[in-house]
């Protein structure tokens, strides 16, 4: 065997090393190609004309990218993965409506097996997408029908780290067990939960859905970026723009717009909208939205305002074909009552008519101001601009109000009664299991409560006062006429009327509102217990949930455990347990209850009146279509 020289050995070593590295490169290339193949069983990210995705924006706009990345817009829809799904999914076993569900993990994929009670488990359906990440998370399953999705019937409540049937995370009649049918994600959810979605209906219930990007990304608000990027490769062009105050015409910046131009960038999703006609619907479904931020109308769609004169033919059509459409979304006077549709409120506000006011008057989509220290806090608190959680928001325009604040509010300047928000944007909208501030700036009145059933701002704080008391105050302070009031309105606290005999929409607002700290400070806490405990057995799951969470805000009940999705028997047992605990352990024996609260000196209800209110409960079916 010939011996190799030192040089030959070195050469052989180098050749072997290069060959080995080459082989490894080929293997990784094969894996890369395999992973880059689009899955066939779920909506996919696709090359939609002009859209470049947030990855392309990142290099030049790192700060804006980072604040967007921290926001819940980004994670509105994500591809299912261990990092995007709730923890411990692989140990999940749930049952609902006679079906048992078991989740199995295979590597980084999760599969759901189902069975009717007593039968054997089906083959697994893979969890392919997940929507939400802030309040609720809902997984979506492959169906084997193209890219059509089926909802996993449970939602993960992030704050509680618990799973609940999706139907019990909405305010909907208790006999309704399903909310989203197969294909609903493709046909409806993706209209807003992705960037430039194209549902692409095929046939039957089969969809071939594609998106420019999962989640609400840069181009949803700034429009497609291909031209912007191509032209701005030229540094001279860029510096010309930097050195002027002009916007780059290849890109929309909603923060530089005012009124409708800015507001519709948000309102394209944050509104109740409908298609102009079937042609536009088909076009939207096939090609995605033709609206681009900066435009003053939604193109194929329109913002549905029940009280305005526009699009009357379309609204009549909606009334004929979907009689509950307006009732499920609006109060009787046309004010929006569901969350996520804030632009309806903004648009209907008197402030909006000035042409300046829009979403970005108070919110910012990027951390443009250096006062913010914590991007996570900013993301969790509505992406408000600094100080916009205070009167500073309204004082931007109503500058004179600062000097006459107390004269206007008739409340101490530093009290919750002098907060613009509390009186003019009370929590009369509901969604995602909690009450949220109305975004229609309005003034409180008793009439709104009597005529439309909407809790007024005064009694949402002064829970223990009657409507008559409020009417008198509004008359004395603002010369509002005193409406005709029923005997109950004159003797029983408005809050009690709403939570006992109101409809589910009123009850849920009060179940949340009784846990609101400013109201507790004003109206007292002692009398709230029995009403919240009573609401633990409400027929509507959302009411029970909020009653539970409000009960936990009260002394002695911080750690009170309660399964709001339990059977009637379990709910009753829990309520009885809570009542006994309050009556014998927590209740202050010296507490004094106002007569308007219907409690006697022992903390027991005036049974005749209370039972009458119970029987008068408005049991009309309420479904709030968030």
């Amino acid at each position: 065997m010939p011996t190799l020289s030192r040089t030959q050995c070195h050469g052989l070593f180098v050749i072997t090393a290069i060959a080995g590295a080459g082989a490894l490169t080929l293997i990784s290339l094969r894996d890369f190609q395999r992973e880059s193949q689009s899955p066939k069983d779920r909506p996919i990210r696709s090359q939609i004309a002009g859209y470049v995705t947030s990855n392309a924006c990142r290099a030049c706009h790192p700060g804006n990218y980072a604040s967007w990345h921290a926001s819940f817009h980004r994670t509105m829809t994500q591809v299912a993965a261990p990092s995007s799904l709730p923890a411990n999914m692989d140990q999940l076993e749930l049952a609902f409506n006679g079906i048992e569900y078991k989740v199995e993990r295979r590597h980084d994929a999760f599969f759901v097996h189902k069975r009717r009670e007593g039968a054997s488990y089906s083959d697994g359906q893979q969890i392919v997408l997940v929507t939400g990440s802030h309040t609720l998370q809902v997984p979506w399953l492959e169906t084997g029908q193209g890219r059509t999705l089926e909802q996993f019937p449970f939602a993960y409540i992030v704050a509680e780290k618990m799973w609940a049937p999706v139907s019990q995370t909405f305010l909907m009649p208790p006999d309704l067990k399903e909310y989203y049918s197969i294909g609903a994600w493709n046909g409806a959810c993706m209209d807003c939960h992705v960037t430039q979605g194209q549902s692409r209906f095929v046939q039957g219930n089969t969809w071939d859905s594609q998106v420019a990007e999962f989640g609400i990304a840069c181009e949803a608000c700034h429009s497609e970026g291909a031209e912007h990027i191509a032209l701005n490769r030229n540094p001279i062009r860029r510096f010309k723009i930097h050195l002027t105050t002009k916007s780059d015409p290849t890109m929309t910046n909603p923060s530089r717009l005012k009124g409708p131009g800015s507001g519709l960038a948000c309102g394209q999703c944050h509104s109740v909208w409908a298609f102009n006609n079937m042609t536009d619907k088909i076009d939207f479904n096939r090609h995605g939205a033709s609206f681009r931020p900066g435009q003053h109308d939604l193109a194929q769609r329109f913002v549905v305002q029940p009280s305005t004169v526009d699009h009357s033919d379309q609204k009549d059509f909606i009334r004929r074909t979907e009689p509950d459409f307006f009732g499920n979304r609006f109060w009787g006077d046309g004010m929006i009552r569901v969350t996520g549709r804030e632009f309806n409120g903004v648009q209907a506000s008197p402030c909006f008519r000035g042409g300046e006011f829009s979403c970005i008057s108070c919110h910012e989509m990027h951390l443009d101001t250096p006062d913010h220290a914590d991007v996570k806090t900013w993301a969790r608190t509505g992406q408000l601009k600094p100080k916009m959680d205070s009167n500073a928001a309204c004082l931007q325009c109503h500058k004179d109000m600062n000097a006459r604040l107390v004269a206007h509010t008739h409340h101490p300047a530093d009290s919750s009664g002098s907060s613009c928000y509390n009186c003019h944007m009370p929590r009369t909208t509901f969604g995602l299991l909690h009450a949220m501030r109305s975004h229609q700036v309005s003034s409180p009145s008793v009439k709104e409560s009597i005529t439309y059933g909407r809790p007024n701002a005064c009694n949402l704080c002064h829970l223990d006062q009657t409507l008559a008391w409020t009417a008198q105050k509004l008359h004395d302070w603002y010369s509002q006429p005193i409406p005709e009031l029923s005997p109950d309105d004159q003797t029983i606290a408005a809050g009690i009327q709403w939570i006992v005999k109101g409809d589910a929409g009123q009850r849920v607002l009060l179940a949340w509102g009784l846990g609101w700290e400013p109201a507790q400070k004003i109206a007292g806490r002692d009398w709230l217990y029995p009403y919240l405990i009573y609401s633990l057995t409400d027929p509507y799951a959302a009411v029970r949930f909020d009653a539970w969470k409000s009960l936990q805000t009260l002394p002695g009940f911080q750690n009170f455990s309660f399964n709001y999705t339990g059977t009637d028997r379990l709910l009753s047992d829990a309520a009885a347990r809570a009542y006994e605990k309050w009556l014998h352990e927590v209740r202050d024996p010296n507490a004094v209850y106002r007569p308007e609260t219907l409690l006697d000196s022992n903390g027991r209800w005036q049974q005749d009146i209370f039972q009458r209110l119970r029987t008068e409960r408005d049991d009309k079916r309420i479904f709030l279509a968030e």
């Binding site: 790192p62 804006n64 930097h242």
Partner: protein
Amino acid sequence: MMRSIPRAQTIKKNAHRNLRFGWWSLLVFLSLGGALETLHGFKIGWYVDVGNETRRLMFTLAHAHGTLLALINIAAGLTVRKVDRFELRPSVSFALIWAAILLPAGFFLGGIVIYDGDPGLGVWLVPVGAILLFYSVARIALDLSKIK
């Protein structure tokens, strides 16, 4: 003979100037490095926030280029002393010094005012400095190659 003495002195003077400049420049840019570390240490948002990524990049480049060019100036001065018959042309000496000023200064000034992913106008000094650097390095390489 009469002319070679002043020329030799001039060359020596140039080399000494580059050496002197190089050491002072090294001190300046090492100090800048220390300042940047301090900004990191105290997590100064103006420097470390993700929205100021461009500023951080520019200042880092200013520090790196300033330090490297200081060493090049020192190396040029030492090369004159070490290599017989090698002359550092006055234009090269001048270009090396100005490259060592303009390149890092361009990065530094470009980082003071930033436009998202773009540096400020000061960054336009960088290509001028780069041309001077390229000229001087190429000239030194050519001149060294001519020496037998």
